[in-house]
C-alpha cells in the first residue's frame, strides 16, 4: 500500500480551533468583573451587621459604657466560662469525635444523629430541657446539692449551657478533621512500632490539628455568644450576651452597642488565629 502524503490544513482565519470557546476577550473580562462584583455584594451583605456596628458606635458611648465600675466583669466571666467550656469539649468531645470518625462504633448513624439532635434543637428549648435535667428538683440536681453545687444561676450552669450550645459544632468539626486522616497512615505508624496512643500523638493528632483548631475556634465563638440556653438556666451571673440583653432592655440600643463590640473583639481573635494557623500548617505540608 502506497503511503499517502499527509497534509495539514491550517484553520481558516476567524475559526476557532477544536476545544476553544468562541468568546471575545473583552466580553470575557466583562463577565469576570460582573462575577466578582456579584460575589462582593454577597460578601458585604454577610458582613453588614459588623459594618453597621462599627459605623454606629461613637467613641464617647464606648468610653462611658466601659468606664463604669465593673463594666468588664461580664467579659471576664464570659472568657472564663468559655475557657472551661472549651476544656470540657476537648476532654469529652475529642474521643467521641474520633470514635465517630473511625466508624468503630456499632450503629454509627445513631451516634451521629444524637450529636446532630443537640445542634437541631433551638438553644432556648435546650435551656428549658436543661432545667428538667439538672434543675434543683431532679436527680442530678440532688446529686449536685450533695456536693454543695447548683446548676441554676451559677457559673456551673453557665458552663453547662455553653457546653450544650457549642458541643455539636466542636464534635462534628473534629469528626471531619479526624476523618480526613488516612487510616492507612495510622496502620503504617503501628507497623513501624508505635502503640495506638503514640500513633494518635505522632500521626493522628498532628494531621487532624488544623481541622480541630477550626472546630475549637467555632465552638469558642458559639460558647461566647451562647444566649438561648443561658438565659433560662444562668441568668446570673451575667456573661456578655446577657449583659447586652439587659442593657438593651433597660437603657436602649445605643448603650448596648459597646458590649456588642467587646463580644466581637473577644470572640473573634481565637477563630482568626486558628484559621491563620491551620492555613499555614496546611501550606507547610505542601512546601
Amino acid at each position: 500500500m502506497a503511503a499517502s502524503p499527509v497534509t495539514v490544513t491550517p484553520p481558516a482565519p476567524g475559526q476557532n480551533g477544536p476545544g476553544g470557546l468562541a468568546v471575545p476577550r473583552g466580553l470575557r473580562n466583562a463577565n469576570r468583573s460582573l462575577a466578582v462584583a456579584g460575589i462582593g455584594v454577597i460578601w458585604l451583605a454577610l458582613l453588614g451587621p459588623v459594618i453597621a456596628l462599627l459605623t454606629h458606635l461613637s467613641w464617647s458611648s464606648l468610653t462611658t459604657a466601659l468606664g463604669a465600675p465593673g463594666a468588664f466583669d461580664p467579659l471576664i466571666l464570659s472568657a472564663e466560662s468559655g475557657a472551661v467550656t472549651l476544656g470540657v469539649l476537648l476532654l469529652l468531645g475529642t474521643p467521641l469525635a474520633w470514635a465517630l470518625a473511625r466508624g468503630t462504633l456499632p450503629f454509627p448513624r445513631v451516634w451521629e444523629a444524637g450529636v446532630l439532635a443537640t445542634l437541631l434543637l433551638p438553644p432556648l428549648v435546650v435551656g428549658l430541657l436543661l432545667v428538667f435535667m439538672v434543675g434543683p428538683y431532679t436527680a442530678i440536681g440532688h446529686l449536685l446539692s450533695d456536693l454543695h453545687l447548683s446548676a441554676t444561676d451559677t457559673f456551673l450552669a453557665l458552663v453547662i449551657a455553653q457546653v450544650y450550645e457549642s458541643a455539636p459544632y466542636y464534635v462534628l468539626g473534629a469528626q471531619a478533621a479526624f476523618g480526613s486522616v488516612d487510616y492507612r497512615l495510622e496502620q503504617q505508624a503501628a507497623l513501624l512500632g508505635d502503640p495506638p496512643l503514640r500513633v494518635f500523638r505522632r500521626v493522628t493528632l498532628p494531621l487532624a490539628a488544623p481541622g480541630m483548631a477550626m472546630a475549637m475556634a467555632i465552638a469558642w465563638a458559639r460558647a461566647m455568644g451562647a444566649f438561648g440556653a443561658v438565659v433560662i438556666i444562668a441568668y446570673h451571673p451575667t456573661g456578655l450576651p446577657l449583659q447586652i440583653w439587659t442593657t438593651l432592655q433597660e437603657t436602649g440600643l445605643p448603650s448596648a452597642l459597646p458590649y456588642a463590640l467587646v463580644l466581637l473583639v473577644v470572640a473573634l481573635p481565637l477563630p482568626i488565629a486558628a484559621y491563620i494557623w491551620s492555613a499555614r500548617a496546611r501550606s507547610r505540608r505542601r512546601s
Partner: protein, 411 residues
C-alpha cells in the same frame, strides 16, 4: 524464617495458604486482583484477624489460634509493609519520616545508617523536603528507606510499584532485591503482573480465589503450570484439544508419545498437511471454542477422542513454521495480525479456537500459517497437568511418529 499457615475469611471465599520464607528469600505471591493476596499479607502484619492461623517469624509466634492463643498487635510484630501508596507522613520532613521508627531506644546509630541508606537510595538531597514535594519514585524510595531503618524482621511488599513507570520499577525492584539479600530478611511481594513477580522473586506462589495453586521457581511455574487455571493466570491464552488423546476410538498412546499437528481444515489450501484422513475430528466440523475448559468434553466430541487433553498455548512461546521436534504444530488461517510492542501478534483459527502468538514478523491476514507452540504443557479434563511432570523442558519427546491430526477450522 517466616512461616505462615493461614485461613482467613473473605466476603465470598476463604483464603487458605501455607507459606515458608527463609531469611533472605524472596517469595512472590502472584494472582489476579481479588485473589486474596493482600489479605494474606495483612494477616501476617496483624492488620486483619484470621479465622485460623499460625504465624511465626524467626522463632517468635506472631499469631496462633491453636491451644494457646496469641495475637501480637502490629506494633510488636516487627513486620514492615510497603503498599502502592508509599504512606509517608505528610506532616513530617523526609528525614523525620525516615527516622520515624527510631525512637529513644534505637536512635544511637541512626545517623550513620541514615546517611548510608539515603546515599544508596539517592534521597540524600531531599532530607528537608516535605513528602508532598516528592515525585512518585522519590516517595517510594523514602518509604523503602523508612522501612529498612525500622529494622523489621520481614518485608511485605503489596504491589509497591504498581503506579510507576517500567524503568523506575526495575531500579526499585533491583534495589529491594539487593537489600533483602544484604539484610537477610524474608520478603514477600504481592503482584498481579507476572513479569514484576518474576523480576523480584526467587520463588513464585500462584494464588487464585484464596487457594494456593502452585509454588515453584519463577521460570518453572510459567513453563510447567501445575494446573489449567495456573496456565491461564501466567498467560496461556489458548487451550487446544490434542488429537488422539482421549479415551475414545482412535485415541493414540497419549500426547507424550506423538508429535501433534492441529491443522486447518481441508479446502483451506494449507498444502502438505491438509490430507483428509482425520480420525478424530469427524463429525465435528466446528469444535466448540470453549474446548479448552476442563470438563467441557462431555459434548459430542468426547466420544471421538479429544475429550481429554488440551495443550496450553502461550503467545510468547510460539514460533513460526513447522517444527514438530520442538512441540505442537498448529496450522490455521490468520484471522488478525497487529503490532504488539516490537513483535506482531498473530491470531490464527485452529482447532476451533483462536490461537495467538507474538512473532517477529508480520503474517498476512487470510493466509494459512503454521505455528509451533514450543514444548507446551498439557492438561487433562480435570485441569491437572498431565505430561508436564514427565517431560522436562527441552525433551524432544514429540519428535517421533508424527501422526498429524486435524481440527476443523471455522471461517
Amino acid at each position: 524464617m517466616l512461616e505462615a499457615d493461614v485461613e482467613v475469611d473473605r466476603r465470598d471465599f476463604t483464603v487458605r495458604a501455607r507459606l515458608t520464607v527463609a531469611p533472605g528469600e524472596r517469595l512472590a505471591l502472584f494472582g489476579p486482583s481479588g485473589a486474596g493476596k493482600t489479605t494474606l499479607l495483612e494477616v501476617i502484619a496483624g492488620l486483619v484477624a484470621p479465622r485460623r492461623a499460625r504465624i511465626t517469624l524467626s522463632g517468635r509466634v506472631l499469631t496462633s489460634t491453636g491451644k494457646s492463643v496469641t495475637a501480637l498487635p502490629p506494633w510488636q510484630r516487627r513486620v514492615g509493609m510497603l503498599r502502592q501508596d508509599p504512606g509517608l507522613f505528610p506532616h513530617l520532613s523526609v528525614r523525620d519520616n525516615l527516622l520515624y521508627a527510631r525512637t529513644r531506644s534505637t536512635s544511637g546509630s541512626a545517623g550513620a545508617e541514615l546517611a548510608e541508606l539515603a546515599g544508596l537510595l539517592e534521597i540524600d538531597r531531599l532530607m528537608a523536603a516535605m513528602p508532598a514535594r516528592l515525585s512518585g519514585g522519590q516517595a517510594h524510595r523514602v518509604a523503602l528507606g523508612r522501612l529498612l531503618l525500622s529494622h523489621c524482621d520481614a518485608l511485605l511488599l503489596d504491589e509497591p510499584y504498581a503506579g510507576l513507570d517500567a524503568s523506575l520499577r526495575r531500579t526499585l525492584t533491583d534495589l529491594v532485591v539487593s537489600l533483602v539479600a544484604e539484610r537477610r530478611v524474608p520478603a514477600i511481594l504481592v503482584a498481579h503482573e507476572l513479569a514484576e513477580a518474576q523480576a523480584f522473586a526467587d520463588r513464585l506462589a500462584v494464588l487464585d480465589r484464596g487457594e494456593l495453586l502452585q509454588v515453584g521457581a519463577p521460570g518453572e511455574v510459567v513453563l510447567r503450570p501445575a494446573a489449567h487455571r495456573v496456565a491461564e493466570l501466567v498467560g496461556y491464552t489458548a487451550f487446544v484439544p490434542v488429537p488422539g488423546s482421549g479415551p475414545g476410538p482412535g485415541s493414540g498412546p497419549g500426547p507424550a508419545a506423538q508429535s501433534l499437528t492441529v491443522a486447518a481444515g481441508s479446502g483451506s489450501g494449507s498444502g502438505s498437511d491438509s490430507d483428509s484422513d482425520s480420525d478424530w475430528d469427524s463429525g465435528s466440523g466446528s469444535v466448540p471454542g470453549s474446548g479448552s475448559v476442563p470438563g467441557s468434553g462431555s459434548g459430542p466430541g468426547s466420544g471421538s477422542g479429544f475429550a481429554g487433553v488440551v495443550a496450553g498455548i502461550h503467545p510468547d512461546r510460539v514460533i513460526s513454521g513447522r517444527h514438530p521436534d520442538r512441540g505442537l504444530v498448529l496450522a490455521g488461517i490468520v484471522s488478525s495480525c497487529r503490532p504488539a510492542g516490537a513483535l506482531w501478534e498473530v491470531a490464527i483459527r485452529a482447532a476451533g479456537t483462536t490461537v495467538t502468538g507474538r512473532l517477529p514478523e508480520a503474517v498476512p491476514t487470510g493466509t494459512v500459517a503454521e505455528l509451533t507452540a514450543v514444548d507446551p504443557p498439557y492438561f487433562d479434563a480435570d485441569g491437572a497437568a498431565v505430561v508436564a511432570a514427565a517431560a522436562p523442558a527441552g525433551d524432544h519427546a514429540f519428535a517421533e511418529g508424527a501422526r498429524p491430526g486435524r481440527a476443523g477450522v471455522e471461517k
